[in-house]
Structure formats: C-alpha cells, structure tokens
Symmetry: C2
Subunit: 226 residues, 2 copies
C-alpha cells in the first residue's frame, strides 16, 4: 500500500498532475517519450487511478497525446506548432490586452505596475544566475503577462490565454541558453508597460505582438540548428 502523503493539494490526482507536468516542462520526459503507467506510479508514489486522471487533464491541455490502448506520450514539439501557438497568442492576448486597456481601472494599473516591478528585480539575461532564480523569473514573467490582461472581463479569453501560455512555455524552456542573447527583453516589457499605462491600446497591442514575434523568432533560430 503506497501511502502518498498528499502534501500540498487536495487530491492525489492534482499532485500527479503537477508532478507529471513538471517532468514534461523540465525536460525529464522528452517530446515523443512514451509515458508508462508503471513508471509514473513509481514516480508519483500512488496507484493508477489518479495518474490516469492527471494524464487526461494534461492531454486536454496539449501536453500529452493519447492513442487508444497504446497509452499516453509526451506531445512532440515542432516548428509548425510553435508558429501556430505564437499566432494565436498574438490574436488572443492582443485582444485581451486591448479590452483590458478599455475596461481596466486604477487597481488593475496598480497590479500591472507591481507585477512589472517584481519581474524587473531579477536579471534574466545573465548566464551565471542559479536556475532557482531563473525559475523565479519565469514565474514573475508569467504573472506580469497575466496581470496585463486581467481586466479584459472575459473569463473564457483568459482561460484560452493561460492555456496558450503554458503550451508556449515548453518551447521557451528548450532553449533557455540562447533566450536573452541579442535581445533586450526588459526594454520590450517596459515598452508594453508604458503604452498600457498611457491607455494607448493600439500601441500596446502592437508592442505585445512584436514581443511574441521576436520570442518566436529567437526560438525558431534555435530549432533550425537542432
């Protein structure tokens, strides 16, 4: 009887979800890898049922794929998908940002400024910072982008954006080493922030779309080589 202690969450299935997702995002499980239940049960220290539920959720979010009676695998990465994700993020987050600028109040502005500040306190481009710090930056980076669109007023749009963000995350992590090389990411973020606070919707959306485009281009260059 495996006696997993349900450390942080309310169900074992939720723990399994986190563990497996982490394994995929960190690269422990590589694209295309088959995910055997026996292995995952051992990793998560629990029975098959919660693992199965976790995989169902991960599949719905595009992290894994399911072949009937052949089990689950880690979803593959491809240039085509990277471009597709980018295009849809530009569309959806662009619109969400536009709506936020239209609807957002002073509290929203405060959230955006605060999130940006937290992110700017950690240098991202440097190579020598410990990975724990990098992890921290990723988190604050995500928080900044979430704050930007948080006043759009559309729960569904926010959900779509969140899913696209976490899907894009896998691509970002593949190529951490080259990410900040020749770009001034901080300046791009500042530009988005300034135009947002100026309530310049068109300018802010343009800056955001450009930001994503440059991120995708950098990753694409990395992919070509590999």
């Amino acid at each position: 009887m495996a006696k997993a202690k349900q450390s942080e969450s309310r169900t074992l299935a939720a723990d399994a979800y986190r563990l497996i997702q982490e394994g995929i995002r960190s690269g422990r499980f590589k694209p295309g890898d088959r995910l055997r239940f026996a292995d995952l049960q051992q990793l998560c220290d629990m029975s098959v049922t919660p693992v199965r539920e976790a995989l169902a959720r991960l599949t719905a979010e595009g992290f894994t794929t399911l072949d009937d009676h052949r089990g689950y695998s880690v979803a593959g990465l491809s240039l085509a998908e990277l471009r597709d994700i980018t295009a849809n993020r530009q569309l959806c987050e662009g619109e969400a940002l536009r709506l936020s600028i239209l609807n957002g109040d002073a509290e929203w502005e405060a959230r955006v400024v605060a999130a940006h500040h937290l992110m700017s306190r950690i240098p991202q481009g440097r190579e020598d910072i410990p990975s724990a710090m990098r992890e921290d930056w990723e988190e604050r980076h995500a928080a900044f982008h979430t704050a930007l669109i948080s006043a759009c007023g559309s729960p569904i749009l926010l959900e779509i954006c969140a899913k696209l963000f976490s899907r894009a995350d896998r691509y970002r992590r593949v190529s951490v080493s080259i990410a900040g090389a020749s770009r001034d990411v901080a300046a791009e973020h500042r530009a988005i922030l300034e135009r947002t606070l100026d309530r310049d919707a068109a300018g802010a959306v343009h800056a955001l779309r450009g930001h994503y485009q440059r991120t995708a281009d950098a990753l694409e260059a990395f992919f070509e080589v590999t």
Copy 2:
C-alpha cells in the same frame, strides 16, 4: 460484473463521454445538477473508472465543473457566459474565416459550397418538423461552419473554435422553440457564403460576426423571460 459491450468506440471511457455529453446537451441533466457516480455508472452500465475519465474530459471542455471531494456538476448557464462565448466566437472564428479566405484553395471552396447545400435542404424555421430532422440540421449547420474555417491553416485555432461551438450549442438547445422566429437565418448563411466565395474577407467576417450577434441576441431575449 457489468458487461458493457463497447458498442461503437474503442474504449468504454469514450462511450461514457458521449453518453454523458448527450445527457447534458439534451437537457436530461440540467444546469447545476449534481452528477453522482452511482447514477452515471448505472446509466452507462460500467464501473467508476471510465465514468471518471469521461467527466475529466467534459470538465476540461466546460460542460461540467469539479469541486474537490464534492464531485462533478453540470456547468450552469448564464447570460454573462453566453455573451462571453459569443464575443470569443466572433474573435476566433472571425480570424479563422479571414485566414481561410486568404489561404483556401478551390477544394476548400467546394467543401463550403457542398456543406451549405446540404444544410439548405432542410428547413430549419418550421415548427412541425420532427426532432430527428432538427438534429440533422444541427449537424449540417455545424458542418457548414466547420467547413468555412477549415482552410485557416491553424490546428490550434480550429480546436478553440470547435470547443466554443460545442459550448454555445448548449445555449442554442435551451431555446429551440424561438430560434427561427423572426430571423431569416438562411439568408444570413447565404450572405456569409457569397462573400466568402467572392474572397471578400472583411465582408464575410462582418457577416459572420453579425450572424453570431443576432443568434446571441435572440437567445438573450429568451433568457430574460425565463
């Protein structure tokens, strides 16, 4: 030992998914209803595991909601959500249609024309047609809208649109009786078709957005009364 015969699909979980979704869309399970495993097991004639997997999928798609340790319920319907779904369909399907017009070839045009023809052969506005026929029309209606955007070149966008479509479907079914009352839905579809074949992207997108707006308005009127 329940011996479900796995009629059409490759796994029992897939059968359960279909059965429960049908139960929700048909109104057998009403918004807010709690979905007890005991009931669903009896309905589907299978054990708890595949039912659980089906509910996980349905939850990811917005048909049901999950409270930890309190089980699943049918997602509620609300005016706010209807408006939200409509707005996002206008955004996403609008863009998908624009891209399709940009990229689509003659084969795509043929698919669109064919789908429209099939749909136009069934009168939708009439009250006295059997529900089986109405079911048929719904199917062809969905096929028409799918065909319109099928050449957009973005699998992710197509997936988003499909999910939004099936979510909107629940609202449509609540109010079948008033649907075609004071509108000429067929004319709206024709307008979309014509502008699409003319490769008039802006016009086609405008017509599509208007189509969804009017659909939502009609449903909204129904909701207000109820």
